[in-house]
């Protein structure tokens, strides 16, 4: 995945994950479709996982801790997507749309 000009260093991974995080933030702010926002959230969580594993590889004496943490991140992401998608489907049934600008009141 990394071109030959980049060395296998911690900084490269951090750079990649920073770029992914920024892309996720951009998508979070710019999109108005709920599912697209969910996809951006996935990108952010994945950039966090890359960060955890990079630090785990390069600057942790105990190589297990980071991996355990990433497993928890993946499990929580799965739970979050499960809930969010059910909310999206409910919203679609009620409102016929998933544009977040049209969801203004709390007590539907």
């Amino acid at each position: 995945m990394t071109p030959a000009i980049f060395s296998q260093s911690l900084q490269t991974y951090l750079l990649v994950s920073t770029a992914m995080f920024s892309i996720g933030i951009f998508g979070l702010l710019a999109r108005r479709n709920l599912v697209a926002i969910l996809i951006s959230l996935e990108l952010i969580l994945n950039s966090a996982s890359i960060n955890f594993l990079a630090f785990n590889k390069f600057s942790m004496p105990n190589k297990v801790a980071g991996q355990v943490f990433v497993v928890f991140i993946i499990a929580l992401a799965a739970a979050e997507v499960c809930i969010a998608l059910s909310l999206v489907l409910l919203l679609y049934r009620k409102k016929d749309s998933i544009n977040i600008e049209e969801v203004k009141e709390l007590k539907g």
Partner: protein, 152 residues
């Protein structure tokens, strides 16, 4: 490739293409995990993210038809503002990254699945159980939200 797919995942107008490029991006992330010596997590990434989460997202897209067909309109000012915020974040974090000396302790170590399993059942037993409980609650909650009483 990962970053290109990530860009496509947020930029394209059709949500279906977003989901497809998310799959490509997650595959790239799994390859990065292999580079980072954690093959088990790469496998988990492919199974859970690509196999479960992306499929669930695609199902949701297919189930709500207008989202699948209609492209959303764009608001240029909003996009510019988001681009500004994301760009500032990226530049700031990158400059910090360049300015810091990162210590490298060692690359060698025990990356094996065996050590991970042992850690799950000894040092991090409590978070492990809590995560399983959270998953259960999430599933029950999702079913409750979508159950007939709530939906009209």
């Amino acid at each position: 490739m990962t970053l290109g797919a990530a860009l496509m995942a947020v930029w394209l107008k059709n949500v279906f293409y977003n989901a497809l490029s998310l799959i490509v991006c997650l595959f790239g992330v799994a390859c990065l995990f292999i580079y980072l010596n954690s093959e088990f997590l790469a496998i988990i990434e492919v199974i859970v993210y690509i196999g479960a989460i992306s499929i669930a997202i695609i199902f949701a897209i297919m189930l709500s038809r207008p989202m699948f067909q209609k492209n959303e309109s764009r608001n240029l000012g909003k996009i510019l503002r988001s681009l500004l915020i994301a760009g500032f974040l990226f530049i700031g974090i990158t400059r910090t990254l360049r300015a810091t000396q990162w210590p490298v302790v060692s690359v060698e170590g025990d990356y094996s699945m065996k050590a991970m399993g042992r850690a799950f059942l000894t040092t991090s037993l409590l978070p492990f159980e809590v995560v399983s409980l959270v998953l259960l609650v999430a599933i029950v909650g999702a079913l409750f939200i979508l159950s007939g009483k709530n939906a009209k």
